[in-house]
């Protein structure tokens, strides 16, 4: 290309024509040259991949939204609970780049109209499938386990299932931050005579929490 430029310049052309030709060549270098354009595309960020044995630790804290109680007959009724608080800690290991399996322990509190406090402390196993659009990740998860539930002097261990979806932004290779939407479904079942079966209720709640995730 340099030789071509020299030949053009050496040709017997007018000064005006030489300037125009030279300008076109310079422009072609920046806008047409395939070699320089290709060098820009090669600068892509590093996207980490995870394998079995990679681990993550997640701390969640946020709001607990009571939704409704459902009787076994299907009737829906108000929980009468206030907006509450929730927090949890979760450890998981990658099964492969898309899936994690781990355990989670946490707790929530919320208040009744007369100031009674409902506490629920679930311990669950959690499975998550991760969709990615770097630097964002979208884990779709489900967890199940037991739920230590206390209200005033009443106490019971209930089963619990928590499906949910999260959005994480990878701040660095180690750290990510995000938001979770976890649905709490916890059946409070009785067979009678006291409490009677008619007092069985399916508890439905929503956790909206912020997360800090650490890879190690």
């Amino acid at each position: 290309m340099v030789q071509c430029v020299i030949l053009i310049l050496e040709a017997r052309t007018s000064l005006k024509a030489r300037i125009i030709l030279l300008s076109l060549l310079v422009l072609s270098v920046f806008y047409v040259s395939p070699s320089l354009h290709g060098q820009q595309e090669e600068i892509t960020p590093y996207v980490p991949t995870y394998v079995l044995g990679n681990q993550i630790l997640i701390i969640n804290a946020g709001l607990f939204v009571p939704l409704f109680f459902q009787s076994l007959g299907g009737e829906i009724d108000n929980t009468n609970l206030s907006l509450g608080g929730v927090g949890s800690i979760q450890w998981s290991t990658y099964l492969n780049n898309e899936m994690t399996l781990g355990v989670e322990g946490g707790g929530m509190f919320s208040f009744s109209p007369n100031g009674r406090t409902l506490y629920m402390l679930p311990i669950t196993a959690r499975y998550a499938y991760i969709l990615r659009a770097f630097p964002f990740e979208f884990p779709i998860s489900i967890s199940a386990g037991i739920n230590f539930t206390r209200l005033s002097s009443m106490f019971q261990i209930l089963p619990i299932v928590k499906p949910g979806v999260s959005v994480y932004w990878n701040y660095s290779l180690e750290w990510a931050f995000g938001v979770n939407f976890f649905y709490w479904w916890t059946p409070n079942l009785y067979s009678g005579p006291e409490p009677p079966k008619s007092q069985s209720r399916l508890g439905n709640f929503l956790e909206i929490s912020l997360s800090a995730l650490y890879h190690f």
Partner: protein, 390 residues
Amino acid sequence: MHTGITRKKPLKNRFLLSGILLLSGILWISGCSKDSEGIFYSLEQEEKAIDNSLPNDVRITGNMIKVTVGSEDRYYLCAGSLFYRTTDLSDNKPWTQVKSPLSFGIVSGVAAVGGRIYVSLSNGKEHGLFRLTPDGNQFEYSGSSDNLYAAKQIIRLFTLNNTLFASVGTILDDTFELLFWDGSALVPTGVHTYKIVAGAWDGVNYWFATPADVFRFSTAPSLNGWIPTPYYSYETYTQSNTSPDPAFNGKSYFTDLFADFSDSTVSSPPYPLYLSSSDGYILKTKDGGGSWKSSGDHNRSFQSISKVKDIIVLGAGGSVVRELPNAVSADDLDTSEIPGGNFSRLPDLYGSNVIRVFGFGDILYVGTTANGLWRGDYSTDPKSPAWSQE
């Protein structure tokens, strides 16, 4: 390939078995409950209690009376301190606390006699019986001379047939005694060594109960005029197997007496008398103790008995108020019900340890050990009273 399949199958079965066991365990654990009601159900039913000005965490330490002071009808209540307020709730007046003449004095009883209000107090070291000023707003106290009785702790104070009675003594000194007000001082009735916990007058007889004895006196009290021979004694029954009526056989742990002067089926005294016990029985006599009827075992620790509208009501330790809807009309002492209305939506009420019930016509007050005083308004519909917290 074949080898690989045979290795995986037991592992898969093991996971399946573990899963089934875990699920069974969770369901088994979740199926066990010592609670009397469902946790989520309790929340679903709860409603915000209407709350008046009396502190909600007070313990009811004595009785409650309704009395006219000047032109005003008032309630006086023993709740640690002495409180009063007007009986007309529509005036929105708050409960007023009366400053105690004894430092840290706990009020154990309040009674009205001869237009004056008498209050018993104790702080453990000092004891006293004091009068309120004629306007009923404060203690009449300018010095120790205003203490009408300081010798022993008064544990019960009540008015029967316009006579003030005081049950005195503690288990520490074991010198129980029943005294009465002779117009100028508390003097002995003659009943001693028995811890009187309740008293009633049926229009003819004075009745008193200890945890294991019942006394009946048909004469007015006089200085040492009553001979302390029990009408019924559990101890005597166990020794000689005798009792005044088969309904009494082996009964003890008596807690309260109630004479029903408003029973429309009785035209003249003696009026029906009810006796409650903390081992779950209610006894009733309609002929001054000639014959008695007993309930079966309610399996409740009844602490107090009263009447609202036409319903006999019992307060019990361990989370219950029970109504006997047919006790007045049909002498049915076995049919019991939980109060209606919003009672079951107020956990601080139905979950409380109820130690006293006070009926005043259509209004029932329920005194608890830690959740203050509750009011049930039976005026509109006795089946559905409106409950609120004082």
